[in-house]
Symmetry: C2
Subunit: 141 residues, 2 copies
């Protein structure tokens, strides 16, 4: 009977929880937590903005959770909802100039928070971990 | 600026969420989800039972969450609280015979659920992933 400590699913949950906690602590300096930070990054990276549906799919969240996160960022003036050029009934979430500015500092902070745990691995090992996790996460081709 | 999709913390959260969801789906057959299943496994594996404090530390949960999980399993007759031989004020959570019986089937189901995603990796790659995650999770020596 395998022990829980050897179970990859269990290890994934524990590692994820520890890294999220450390990253939340680091992001506190800019008043963000991991989830709204992730929304901000995606809103910055997609040229012209990203739909709430795509945000939900990318982050693995319910649409209602995404609406709450976007509302929070919009209240702080970090993102805004704009009509999609392709279909004006669809709103895209786009970063404001202020959001882009905060993102740079937030990414530095998130990186240093994550490395508190991940820094135990060499850069080559981190690359291996990234590749393996990408294959676990990716949709089948 | 690194894309979110290359961020190891983000990949850990996504992978963990996907594996937990698949495992919950598999465990539904025995009326368990990942968290109570994990408590049951730890209660089975520790000779004589495990304290709620150790459960919380191992699972990375708050004590109040652990109490609720143990209550749920106790109501179903899968675990029971017994006084610790070392200190009768401390209660240990021990699996009942019925809990041990269910655990065997639950472990099969949890394994097959997890493999829906993890089976994309070869056994050698899964071993590498397990080793890397163990080092991320382990307390410093």
């Amino acid at each position: 009977m395998p022990a829980l400590a050897d179970d990859i699913g269990f290890l994934l949950s524990r590692a994820s929880g520890l890294v999220v906690r450390a990253t939340n602590d680091s992001l506190a300096e800019v008043g963000l937590r991991v989830r709204p930070y992730s929304v901000l990054v995606l809103a910055c990276d997609e040229e012209g903005g990203i739909s709430q549906r795509d945000l939900a799919a990318t982050l693995g969240l319910d649409p209602s959770q995404v609406v709450a996160l976007v509302d929070e960022l919009a209240r702080r003036g970090l993102v805004e909802r704009t009509p999609s050029p392709a279909d004006r009934r669809t709103k895209l979430v786009a970063a404001t100039a202020r959001g882009r500015e905060l993102r740079d500092r937030a990414t530095e902070l998130a990186g240093s928070g994550g490395q508190q745990r991940l820094g135990r691995l060499t850069p080559a090992e981190q690359a291996t971990l990234r590749d393996l996790l990408t294959r676990v996460v990716d949709d089948p081709a």
